[in-house]
């Protein structure tokens, strides 16, 4: 296990510039070939966002503004802050899981460290998300919510999210390369994950049922989304929720071990199967 870990780390440190170059190439590839090109990176999330906002505020009538202390936040702002980080998570659950399959030629046609593939895909997806998050910050500011000290921990949650989903892709992309079924399984669970994790409803005030509460506490997506909202709306530090942060760290360790195990077990079989 230790040698696998060393090997993956070395592959990453020796290929840092390659990771950036390939992430850039991945971005170029995603948005090229369409007349509107790069603007799709913004148009697509905006359409999704508007749809949810419309359905929730007019359909479900859950348009209540959120009041924290003296500040009142429009429902739309609260919603944006949940959905924007989700875009990255969603991308990683699909493209991250598919990454090795998609970059087959790096595995079967040349000598290239396989573990680097999920990482550069993750970097590529994060870049798009960072731009979107920047837009969200501007939106908050423009709506009269100037940056507070709590915004400082945004990079912390971005880092958490990046770590979680990169490790996820390290594990899942290897498994998906071996089995199409696993890929389908993951895709099937994306919608439930979105609806059950409190991205579009308030998970922080749901106290009715202890079982549901525990489910949300254990859910890493809920933790991350709450985290982003804690930064910009609820003004809470990440160390103020030690139990939840601890559980999330547990997830990171678990994924890390799983990814090492998958690498050790599957690395040598991958080129034969693809």
């Amino acid at each position: 296990m230790l040698s696998v870990c060393k090997r993956i780390l070395r592959d990453h440190t020796h290929n840092l510039s390659q990771i950036l170059k390939l992430a850039k190439a991945d971005l170029v590839k995603t948005y090229r070939g369409a007349a509107l090109g790069w603007s799709w990176a913004v148009i697509k999330p905006c359409v999704t966002l508007f749809t949810y906002w419309f359905a929730l505020s007019f359909g479900f009538r859950s348009n209540t503004p959120i009041t924290v202390g003296d500040n009142t936040y429009a429902f739309f702002l609260w919603l944006v802050l949940g959905i924007t980080p989700w875009f990255y998570m969603n991308d990683m659950l699909v493209a991250g899981t598919e990454s090795i399959r998609k970059y087959k030629y790096l595995v079967t046609k040349m000598k290239f460290p396989v573990s680097v593939i999920p990482t550069f895909v993750s970097v590529s997806k994060l870049m798009v998300n960072l731009v979107l998050l920047l837009v969200v910050m501007i939106l908050f500011w423009a709506s009269g919510h100037a940056p507070t000290l709590y915004w400082v921990q945004l990079p912390v949650y971005i880092g958490f999210s990046f770590a979680f989903f990169t490790l996820w892709a390290q594990f899942a992309s290897l498994l998906a390369a071996i089995s199409q079924d696993f890929l389908n399984l993951v895709k099937a669970f994306i919608t439930p994950l979105f609806w059950l994790s409190g991205i579009i409803w308030r998970a922080d005030t749901l106290h009715e049922h202890p079982l549901i509460q525990w489910f949300l506490r254990l859910n890493p997506v809920t933790y991350l989304v709450n985290g982003f909202r804690n930064c910009m709306i609820f003004e809470r530090w990440f160390f103020e929720t030690p139990l939840e942060t601890g559980i999330f760290m547990g997830w990171l360790v678990l994924l890390w071990i799983l990814s090492l195990w998958a690498y050790k077990r599957l690395r040598k079989d991958i080129p034969d199967v693809l």
Binding site: A25, K29, V107, T108, M110, I178, S179, D181, R267
Partner: protein, 245 residues
């Protein structure tokens, strides 16, 4: 002068696991290979290759030639035994050098260079030579997915001979090129072998090509080397093998 060994196979075996279904493959891969047919593509193979040698691998389809080249390239791993390779490997496996089909030929030159760890300026310096040799005309700036197999082979070959590899691996890639390109390749490969001391590993079904630059031939049959020696003799053995079956 004693040349150093650049490739050494010690008792190398490669087993492919053939499963009935995807589900069984998943279970088998995760929890140990059971309930599957085993195909021994390479069977306890040992050989040594010195720097500057040019070796042709001859044999029928499925004799294990491509698997050997893949193991040398480092994209496949031996099930047992040890593969030692010393130097940068430039490989053309299964006609393609690993291109991203969505990118243009020119972009693929850069991508490939970056993956190999070359700097932008180094690639820019190599670019004219690569373009000239590949001779793709207007297709250079078209996506590689629109290329014919001949064009892919040209570009792949051009990149691989120009990045100055220590070991050049060519798997069937020349058979799709036209005569003129073939000639160009032969001249270039001979030049690389004679002046730059590169080692060539070559898989082909074309006897004349094998003769054109290889002095040593290895005839493969069912994963084992049934002959390893001078190319003329290897060709005779290979022909005998074909006639027999």
């Amino acid at each position: 002068m004693e040349q150093k060994t650049v490739i050494r196979f010690s008792n190398v075996s490669k087993v492919y696991y053939l499963y009935k279904s995807n589900k069984q493959r998943l279970l088998g891969t995760l929890f140990g290979h059971k309930k599957c047919k085993q195909k021994r593509a390479v069977d306890r193979l040992s050989f040594e290759i010195k720097q500057g040698e040019a070796i042709a691998f001859l044999g029928r389809n499925g004799a294990g030639k491509s698997t050997i080249l893949k193991m040398i390239t480092g994209v496949a791993f031996p099930t047992a035994g040890d593969v030692f390779v010393d130097g940068r490997v430039g490989a053309l496996l299964e006609l393609s050098a690993g291109f991203d089909p969505e990118f243009t030929g020119r972009e693929n030159i850069y991508l490939k260079g970056h993956i190999l760890g070359l700097h932008q300026s180094e690639i820019a310096a190599l670019e004219p030579a690569i373009i000239e040799f590949a001779d793709l005309g207007d297709y250079l700036d078209q996506p590689v997915r629109t290329y014919s197999s001949g064009m892919k082979a040209r570009l792949g070959f051009s990149i691989n001979v120009n990045i100055q590899p220590d070991i050049l691996i060519v798997d069937e890639a020349l058979s799709v090129g036209d005569e003129e390109f073939k000639k160009k390749c032969i001249t270039r490969i001979n030049q690389l072998i004679n002046h730059h001391g590169i080692t060539l590993m070559f898989v082909t079904h074309s006897i004349s090509l094998a003769k054109a630059f290889c002095k040593r031939g290895i005839v493969m049959n069912n994963g084992r080397a049934m002959y390893d020696g001078p190319i003329e003799e290897a060709i005779l053995r290979y022909n005998a093998l074909i006639v027999k079956t």
